[in-house]
């Protein structure tokens, strides 16, 4: 995720101090992974250097946390460009799970157990996310649903692979 462009977008609503920006970011996007102060100030100084934000005021005292930042016209253009360009879909072609299954078959280990163990682990996480979703607000629901749909896709693949294990064993050991 691009922290820089997210900052620019948050600053479009009005100038903010660095700590305020961090709080707004963590609140909306960083519930599971809040930003470090180091990241915040490194990002802001980069944006400043590139002319995408400017210092809008300084309170008395020392240090970057005293500064207030505002987005520049170039910054607004940058967010606009970012929002308008599609994210590259993840092709999901490098699967560790697939590698493990093939390796288990090639080495004569029980691939079925591997699939079952993985399945249990996926469902455990899905239960946890479902609980969180049901106890949370709409933002929690959307974030958790995104994760749940992806985990569900993995599980369907695990099911399908379990059903094709004999064919796969023949294919990889012949």
């Amino acid at each position: 995720m691009s922290i820089g462009q997210t900052f620019l977008g948050l600053l479009e609503a009005g100038p903010r101090h660095g700590y305020d920006l961090k709080r707004a970011y963590d609140d909306r996007f960083g519930r599971d992974r809040p930003l470090h102060y180091g990241q915040v100030y490194a990002t802001l100084s980069r944006l400043l250097k590139n002319g995408l934000v400017e210092v809008d005021g300084t309170e008395p005292g020392e240090g970057p946390e005293r500064k207030r930042y505002a987005v520049t016209d170039a910054g607004v253009t940058d967010v606009q460009r970012w929002l308008a360009s599609p994210e590259k879909p993840d092709p999901y072609l490098q699967s560790t799970l697939y590698t493990k299954v093939v390796l288990a078959l090639v080495t004569g280990r029980p691939a079925n157990d591997l699939l079952d163990t993985q399945r249990a682990e996926h469902l455990r996480l899905m239960r946890e996310l479902t609980r969180r979703k049901n106890d949370g607000d709409l933002a929690d629901q959307l974030v958790c649903d995104h994760a749940l749909f992806h985990l569900e896709a993995d599980l369907r693949w695990l099911e399908l692979t379990a059903a094709r294990l004999d064919d796969l064993r023949r294919a990889v050991t012949s």
């Binding site: 079952d116 163990t117 399945r119 249990a120 682990e121 996926h122 469902l123 899905m126 239960r127 996310l129 479902t130 049901n134 749940l148 749909f149 985990l151 569900e152 599980l155 369907r156 099911e159 059903a163």
Partner: protein
């Protein structure tokens, strides 16, 4: 009670030459929500029917509160189902001639609860399932998702100790399916009812406390083997 509420042990059941269950075991604690997953034809519904005393296994034991369900007379078994169990299926479970309120009140009427009392309690459950406004409508006049919520209300109205749900969201889109699951599991937790939930959808199974996988008529309890 300390032991499990409901136990199935090493169930076998064939339909003609087809083995539907070939060594299925499962135990459910009071208030526990257990999902049963597995491929189509693996024996999930047959297992649920055996647990609920709808189908008798060829061999193996089913016990509810330490009482042998297989050995009961038909009459005892149907009394057990009416007083202790609630059922939600994929579709076609509401009586088309009755209003939604009358449908939900029906299990109580069969238990000889007075009409006014039965309808009062039915209305409470329609409220809980967020379908208050459907009370006077007939099943033909409501959507699939609404019908499932009415069916859940009907399953819960007798305060059952176990709710058996076989693909309760099978005919619904994901938003409606989630809503039914949230309401069903929420109400079950509030009333300390156990739920045996058959589903092939992982997102639905994730509402349970634990899952059991059935393959070729055999159960694999992943929480215990992993």
């Amino acid at each position: 009670m300390t032991g499990p509420l409901l136990v199935a042990d090493d169930l076998h059941r064939s339909f003609g030459p087809t083995p539907a269950l070939a060594g299925a075991s499962l135990s459910v604690a009071a208030g526990e929500i257990v999902s049963i997953m597995g491929p189509s034809g693996s024996g999930k519904s047959t297992l649920l029917h055996c647990l609920a005393g709808i189908v008798s296994p060829d061999s193996g034991r089913v016990a509810y509160q330490d009482r042998d369900v297989v050995a009961m007379s038909d009459r005892e078994r149907s009394a057990l189902r009416r007083s202790q169990f609630g059922f939600v299926f994929q579709f076609g479970q509401l009586v088309p001639e009755l209003t939604c309120l009358e449908n939900v009140a029906l299990p109580l009427r069969l238990e000889r609860v007075r009409r006014s009392e039965a309808e009062r309690r039915a209305k409470d459950w329609l409220d809980r399932l967020e379908v208050t406004e459907l009370a006077g409508k007939r099943p033909g006049e409501i959507s699939g998702g609404q019908g499932q919520r009415v069916a859940v209300a009907r399953a819960l109205v007798t305060a059952p100790r176990v709710i058996f749900a076989d693909e309760p969201t099978g005919a619904l889109d994901s938003l409606n399916g989630e809503r039914v699951m949230r309401l069903l599991t929420g109400a079950a937790r509030d009333t300390r009812a156990a739920v045996v939930l058959v589903t092939h959808e992982a997102r639905v199974a994730a509402y349970a406390d634990r899952e059991v996988v059935v393959r070729d008529g055999r159960t694999r309890d992943l929480a215990r083997t992993a």
